[in-house]
Symmetry: C2
Subunit: 405 residues, 2 copies
């Protein structure tokens, strides 16, 4: 039986294409004759429990298309991580509004919420189809070739490193760029796709999948700087030592910097600044600069992968199709079936929920500070069309006249 | 007499279009029959004194076009600020290579170098045409409607704020974005062009043209946060108190943060972090995030204004034409003659050299934290074609079922 009313919500960190999935759900659902209402919840699960719902049935298709092209969560998002009680509240609201299908666009926390809500409905013998739609710039959902949102963020990171490498070549020194990623280094590793010539940066890449050793780091930087006269470094915000202690905590303690005891990874330039201070002090290099890419990398409006847009739209569409024609709840996953082509599958919620994928070993080079060609091949098609490219002048030295000797 | 050999160099901070000016000089100069050699100096004036020159006469036009579209200084840049002695060294090298025309693409420090070198040549009765070609993301050259490099950086800043505003609307809190600009607030003010709806951020804009008072700042943030439940703030790195002391220095001293006594404005996230700490502590707001746009804003490869590209190309071309057909040295300036059209003039070097333009009063609103419509009209055409636009869902609330009362 086709559900009469459906509800869609967005959770977790916004991405550049999460509204494509929203538009995919709404436009696809409105094609089904039996569907009488398409609701959206403001600010994810918190909007559901507060009954802060928006009727999208009467939104124009044109405006939905325009919103689809707009980064960040148009319905608003939330950081709430519902427990069993919270999920029960969600279920009660869905029941009160006679919602027959619930779509939640989010990462692995969100998929766990979908799983619990689905179980609640089952226990109450209430007919509810629950579909999790993948989304995360971290690319850390298991069971997926990649996740919507990651390709556009990766495109931003690759283009940013193309630029800062050129900037660093013009005014040489050491440059540290800190990229989002607490447990998975995919986004930081994307910096490697900004590289064209062998001498281009990033020369060193540090991801959370490898233990970060500050002495090894300084030795790496020193070696690169001595070889090239400059060094461009990409660092994941989540780098940690052998015991799992975040480097930002360690460095902050070491130099008595941490006045308020807060260890916050995003929305602060502290890690970049602390690493730069280490390099300046220990290696006596004068020009050392650090940038933290922060929120720019996940919501930048002018740097979206068209491949990412199309796939984010399709996972939304497929979610509705699975709910309408399928016989079970689940999580939509992206499977790579060609170079480059994808197809979609509906995985059991238990297979995705609450699990974290990290970079596969084959993607990281043995030296620990670079990616492999396997990773470059994996990522390139995701970045989309019209990737800008960097060119340089060909060498052709003029003979000296004044200082001939 | 047409100079047989010409030399071009790039100085100061790179921009997204400085290579357009380089290509403009080289391609235009190569059209003149009398020109036998077109040289480029590596790393600006330092490459001249070291005779580190590159022969561009045999570079292909195709590669020059590709380099023109590549951000950052293809010849390399320098932070050297030549004094009279240094300029004499420059002149000696130009003389040894029989250079007849010298083109220097740079900001106001660079124009001063051109002025001194020109005077040296005059004193030595050596025939040398010296042309300064404008370039700076700060937009702080006098005598110009605007300067090449600024429009593309402004495009990046406007697009970045469009994105972070959407992000902040999805996950509400306070967001501080620190933008480059030591004395002139043009680039920070460009954040206002990322705004579409009245409630959009940036809600508060702080530029170096106005005295920054931390208590007033906190009161502004509090008022906005109470009104909208969120607040997006754009801050120039160069904000200072009534005595001209940079705020970064003041805040750092206040909370004993400045372990090494370095006050560096760019390449560190310190100002954003310090302002965020103030907001967290004094206003007791929990979600406060800061980003420093850093080097991304001046060399990002995927966010270049086509208007900026064309004008940067033209100032290079015009420079060569002035040198070949004119009778004096000078600085190429951009004059706005229509909405939107520009023309170019050659100003005396003394009129430009070493002077700093700041934002005109008519561009800043009386409240001190916003720009005027005059500024919006001024900036909009510079941002170029295909500016992405943000859309939102139209409100259409669903009646509550569970919590009807």
């Amino acid at each position: 039986m086709t559900p009469k009313k459906i509800l869609v919500a967005q959770g977790g960190g916004p991405t550049a294409v999460i509204n494509q999935s929203l538009a995919g759900v709404v436009l696809e659902a409105r094609k089904f004759r039996g569907v009488s209402r398409v609701y959206g919840a403001h600010h994810g699960v918190s909007g559901i429990v507060n009954e802060d719902l928006l009727d999208l049935t009467q939104e124009t298709s044109h405006n939905l298309e325009m919103v689809a092209n707009t980064p960040s969560s148009a319905l608003g998002s939330t950081r709430d991580k519902p427990d069993a009680k919270y999920c029960h509240e969600i279920f009660k609201v869905l029941q009160a509004h006679e919602i027959g299908a619930f779509f939640y666009i989010g990462g692995n926390d969100s998929s766990d919420t979908v799983r619990i809500v689905s179980e609640e409905a089952h226990k109450a013998k209430y007919p509810l189809r629950c579909i999790h739609i993948p989304k995360t710039i971290d690319n850390d959902l298991v069971g997926n070739d990649h996740t919507p949102g990651f390709p556009s963020a990766a495109r931003f990171v690759a283009q940013a490193f193309t630029g800062v490498n050129l900037d660093n070549a013009a005014l040489p020194g050491v440059y540290v760029g800190v990229v989002m990623g607490r447990h998975a280094g995919f986004l930081t590793a994307a910096s490697a796709l900004g590289k064209k010539f062998p001498e281009d940066g990033p020369h060193l890449i540090y991801v959370p999948e490898r233990v970060f050793d500050i002495d090894k780091f300084l030795a790496d930087v020193k070696a690169t700087y001595e070889r090239l006269g400059r060094c461009v470094i990409a660092v994941s915000e989540g780098i940690h030592d052998a015991k799992g202690v975040p480097i930002i905590t360690k460095l902050a303690e070491q130099i008595e910097h941490d006045a308020h005891g807060n260890v916050q990874l995003s929305g602060t330039g502290a890690l970049a600044d602390l690493l730069c201070e280490e390099i300046k002090i220990k290696l006596k290099i004068k020009r050392v600069r650090g940038d933290t890419f922060g929120y720019l990398q996940r919501s930048f409006i002018g740097c979206v992968s068209d491949v990412d847009q199309r796939e984010a739209r399709e996972v939304g569409e497929k979610a509705v199709q699975y709910a309408m024609w399928g016989d079970r709840s689940g999580s939509v996953t992206i499977q790579r079936i060609g170079y480059y082509s994808v197809d979609y599958e509906l995985a059991p919620l238990e297979a995705i929920a609450g699990k974290t994928r990290v970079m596969e070993d084959e993607f990281l080079s043995e030296c620990g500070t670079n990616v492999t060609d396997a990773f470059r091949l994996y990522l390139r098609p995701l970045l989309g069309s019209h990737m800008p490219d960097a060119y340089r002048l060909r060498p052709n030295a003029v003979a000296k006249e004044l200082h001939k000797g």
